[in-house]
């Protein structure tokens, strides 16, 4: 309650400031507080400039940059190797198929006319496909021929014979335990000891499938070499599932230039998570992604994610990540308002003269902004607490000093104000003591001149002679008989004579009664105390 009352007073004083000026105490208190605030602000600004207060952000930036560089370098190397292996695979498969067909006296261009050889042709390339798969460490390999076993069937135009072999969770199972799952001819699976994929089908529906259509179209349109024709896409050869994937696909071209189909590798989301998750850190919700790069951000619909799965899944389903500026770390926003901080870096998956060079990809590493803010706050909470404590301490010290310092001054001023000033009153502040002395002298002089005026009038009323008036005035100023005789140049007995006349006319018997009669109290008492002889 006391504090509230004081606060109320403080506010009242503050409001009155300007009307009647500030009290000295308030002025001093305000000055001290301003000083304290200035000092603490200086400390905070220094910390901000020198780093400690922005430590969390700096570390996050360092972490993101380091991880992004690692992922970007590793990914560019691995995916580069995949494209090299793929072009070699395509060349060797094309040659092998041609040889196999030649043995059967079937020209490569007539493959579609001989559906009865498709199973044998495909099974013949199985070892080559598996070997390439082992070399790349991808999660799947496929080969799809531009032919179908049932050309007369409805939908034959987009049904293509082929084989897709997936090693489910190659990173989790290890090469010795990896199980191979197949989509394609069941006989090929049985004879080679493979399992069939749960979403098995005998052929592949290639209708509107970019991985099949685009490389073949580009080959037919511009006829670039294989190293300029491979295509990367966020899709799977099995259109009805298989989870998020990225695949790399290239045409199969015979020596005569006929397009026989396509072959390629698949990299599963699990594989991506296993290879490219951010290192364990305090940023528990950090996640990485490989995505298509757009002019204003990252396309989450065409992306693979690593790191924290619940957060990355939510990000995947919330639309593109639009870059929204940022200082040091970029800020990325989604349509539902979710905000992330991080960095992205473009990765070159194609040579500049590739048929698909306009497709841009980026790797990114992001942290939910709320997480980073909370972390920075947590990091600086001690500093903030220390600053707050210092401010509080400054406030208390200001109150204490303003009180302690001004108390004696105020006390003396109060005494002056109430005419109770002590002769020895001192504040030990030179200027204030001089001021007090000046006030005291002024007051004395005022009292004396006032007393003198009154005494002169009374002396006139008593019909005192000029000499008697002089003697009376000097006595009233506190002089002794001897001092009066010395001052006037008359004998002491003459002074006594004047006194007797004066006492008789006034009807009094002593100098003390004289002083009382003319109302000389404190000043005279002071003199009397200082000159005890006057009492007698």
């Amino acid at each position: 309650m006391g504090f509230i009352k004081r606060l109320h007073n403080f506010i009242r004083i503050l409001r009155k400031t300007g009307d009647a000026g500030m009290t000295m105490r308030f002025r001093l208190f305000t000055f001290l507080i301003a000083l304290v605030v200035l000092m603490i602000s200086s400390v905070v600004i220094t910390l901000l400039i020198s780093g400690p207060l922005t430590d969390g952000q700096g570390e996050a930036k360092e972490f993101v940059r380091k991880e992004l560089t690692r992922v970007s370098d590793d990914l560019a190397a691995q995916y580069g190797d995949v494209t090299v292996q793929l072009t070699r695979l395509s060349e060797s498969i094309s040659t092998s198929i041609e040889v196999r067909l030649r043995d059967k006296e079937i020209p490569a261009s007539k493959l579609q006319a001989h559906p009865e050889v498709l199973e044998e042709v495909i099974e013949g390339e199985l070892d080559r496909l598996l070997l390439a798969l082992d070399k790349t460490g991808c999660s799947g390999v496929f080969m799809i021929l531009d032919a179908t076993v049932g050309p007369e069937l409805a939908g034959a135009g987009h049904s293509r014979a082929g084989i897709s072999v997936r090693i489910t969770e190659p990173k989790l199972s290890g090469p010795d335990m990896a199980r191979r799952y197949v989509r394609g001819f069941p006989g090929v699976a049985y004879r080679n000891g493979f399992s069939m994929l749960s979403n098995w089908d005998m052929e592949f529906d290639v209708e509107d499938r970019a991985y099949y259509r685009l490389p073949l179209e580009k080959y037919k349109e511009i006829g670039l070499p294989l190293s300029r024709l491979y295509y990367w896409g966020f899709e799977s050869v099995i259109s009805d599932g298989g989870g998020s994937m990225i695949l790399c696909c290239v045409p199969l071209i015979s020596s005569g230039g006929e397009a026989l189909g396509v072959c390629g590798f698949e990299i599963s989301a699990v594989n991506f998570i296993s290879d490219y998750s951010p290192a364990a850190s305090e940023y528990r919700h950090a996640f990485g992604m490989l995505s298509c790069l757009t002019d204003n951000g990252l396309d989450t619909g065409r992306a693979l994610f690593s790191g924290n799965q619940p957060v990355s899944c939510a990000a995947r389903n919330n639309g593109p990540l639009l870059r929204a500026g940022g200082n040091g770390l970029n800020i990325y926003r989604q349509q539902d308002g979710k905000t992330f901080v991080g960095l992205h870096e473009e990765v070159k998956l194609y040579p500049v003269d590739s048929a698909f060079a306009d497709q841009r990809f980026a790797v990114a590493l992001l942290i939910p902004k709320g997480d980073l803010d909370a972390l920075v706050l947590r990091r600086n909470v001690k500093l903030i607490m220390i600053c707050a404590a210092l401010l509080l301490l400054g406030l208390c010290v200001s109150v204490f000093i303003s009180r302690k310092y001004l108390n004696p001054i105020m006390s003396v001023f109060d005494d002056i104000h109430s005419d109770r000033i002590d002769v020895d009153a001192k504040t030990n502040i030179l200027e204030i003591d001089r001021l007090i002395e000046l006030i005291r002298e002024t007051k004395e002089n005022t009292a004396q001149s006032s007393g003198r005026a009154r005494t002169a009038e009374e002396f006139d009323a008593l019909n005192l002679s000029p000499r008697e008036k002089e003697v009376a005035a000097l006595l009233l100023r506190g002089m002794t008989m001897r001092q009066v005789s010395a001052d006037l140049g008359i004998s002491e007995s003459t002074v006594h004579g004047y006194c007797r006349t004066l006492y008789k006319r006034l009807g009094i018997n002593s100098r003390t009664e004289l002083l009382v009669r003319f109302g000389v109290t404190s000043l005279d008492n002071t003199h009397m105390t200082a000159n005890p002889g006057l009492k007698s």
Binding site: L153, M177, R179, Y190, M196, M202, P310
Partner: protein, 458 residues
């Protein structure tokens, strides 16, 4: 005033106590990471991954637990890897914190002192929520709970009714006769003849109707239905009269082409229209497609029926109870506590039913089985899973579930029996087909099968 102060103190104490209880020994700022090895593959893995992600994002984050999938493989491979890790041989992998195991492997691990008694992580009340038979399996005949049931499976009969209805219309076989093995054999014989008759110019090209996936389990359950045990004293009881019935339910049909001789999953044969029905695990339901693709790539929509596991005539209604549970490897107090938190969450009815309704496994708690499963049936991930859950609820009421014996070498015994049976049947089938050119089917069968059973038994 005093009473108000007392109330405040009591509230403070209770809050402090509750806060202490809730927190446990874990620190959310320094989470413990538990490695999980499991056997859930393809769609089942996706379901398990979703649950793990959900746990990590909610309970795990709050409590300070991260579950990481470390190794996924079929049970046989996973168990081999677990035993290698447990052996501590140079180069062997590090044991996980949690693994899906079957009792026969858990016995070995428990003997090495590697497994945690899960009884210490669960209260009696919590344990009483589980189906008692499932818990008993996890105790492996002793008092220590080494395996917590997560999801169980049984065997059922999958039927492609699209083909079966055509057969039924022409031959009079009925779906109800598939309730017994004898009825299945009769339908298989008729199906072979029916399909053979479709190409009169090509003799003996009828198609197989049925495949028991897999033959060892079929024999084990058949024995129990007939009141005997297929495995006694860790050896096969082939001298039992029950074995003659088991043999007759497979070998003659296989040799004559009524039953498929195959060493992989039955769904492959159903998906390609090679057979019409098969006994197989309920956990395989997601692998049964709604489309049959024939060898010439023609396709046919297939309506699947899921029927209770067949029973021998006059036999008892007994079916297999399969599916491992999760065990926890001994480590430190924090990890063991964290594993308990995860397993409790995973087997809560909500989570348990979400997993089972997407995979065809059976839930493991009484609450999930009794009330929730019926509700979940309506919202199953596919028609086939819905049909399966209905059938399993019926089986739960009418069948006794059999838990296979637990001993070292059981898997090898199972593997050898299956290989020998399929090889014997395959050899006889080839001989039978060769003989058919010169003799009638009965004579050819007589010649091909002469003395075979005796040699097999010996």
């Amino acid at each position: 005033m005093k009473s108000k102060i007392s109330l405040l103190i009591m509230t403070g104490l209770m809050a402090a106590t509750l806060a202490g209880c809730r927190k446990g020994p874990l620190d959310p700022k320094n989470p413990v990471t538990l490695t999980l090895w499991h056997t859930y593959d393809q769609q089942m893995k996706a379901s398990m991954d979703d649950l793990i992600d959900e746990f990590n994002g909610a309970i795990g984050e709050r409590e300070g637990i991260i579950i990481e999938t470390g190794f996924v493989a079929v049970a046989l491979d996973l168990h081999e890897k677990l035993l290698t890790a447990a052996s501590g041989a140079p180069g062997s992998p590090k044991l996980p914190d949690i693994a899906v195991v079957y009792p026969r492997v858990a016995v070995t691990l428990a003997e090495k002192g590697l497994l945690l008694d899960l009884g210490g992580q669960f209260s009696e009340t919590e344990l009483s929520g589980y189906v008692p038979a499932f818990l008993e399996e996890g105790r492996m005949g002793g008092g220590t709970l080494y395996i917590l049931p997560i999801a169980k499976s049984t065997d059922v009969l999958y039927v492609n009714t699209t083909i079966f209805d055509r057969l039924s219309k022409d031959t009079g076989v009925t779906l109800s006769q598939l309730a017994t093995f004898e009825g299945i054999l009769d339908a298989a014989e008729k199906y072979y003849a029916w399909t053979d008759a479709k190409t009169p110019d090509v003799p003996n090209d009828g198609k197989a109707f049925f495949y028991p996936d897999e033959p060892f389990n079929n024999a084990m359950i058949g024995f129990r239905q007939l009141g005997d045990d297929f495995v006694t004293d860790q050896t096969l009881n082939l001298s039992s009269p029950a074995f003659q019935k088991i043999w007759d339910s497979f070998y003659p049909g296989a040799v004559k082409g009524h039953i498929a001789i195959f060493d992989k999953y039955a769904n492959y044969l159903i998906q390609t229209g090679e057979i019409v029905c098969a006994t197989s695990s309920s956990a395989g339901v997601t692998f049964y497609s709604d489309t049959v693709t024939y060898a010439d790539n023609t396709k046919e929509e297939a309506v699947m029926a899921v029927l209770p596991y067949p029973v021998f005539e006059s036999g008892e209604k007994i079916a297999m109870q399969r599916g491992g549970g999760m065990c926890v490897f001994k480590s430190d107090a924090k990890k063991e506590y964290a594993a308990g938190v995860f397993l409790k969450w995973l087997t809560e009815p909500d989570q348990n039913l979400r997993f089972t309704s997407r995979t065809g496994y059976l839930p493991v708690t009484g609450a999930a089985f009794e009330d929730l499963m019926a509700r979940e049936t309506a919202s199953a991930a596919s028609d086939n899973i819905g049909k399966l859950l209905k059938t399993v609820i019926d089986m739960q009421r009418e069948y006794v579930f059999y838990v296979p014996p637990v001993f070292d070498g059981f898997e090898e015994l199972q593997k050898r029996y299956k290989e020998e049976l399929l090889k014997t049947a395959g050899d006889s089938r080839r001989e039978y087909l060769e003989l058919l050119g010169a003799s009638d089917p009965d004579t050819a069968y007589e010649a091909a099968s002469r003395g075979v059973m005796g040699r097999f038994v010996s």
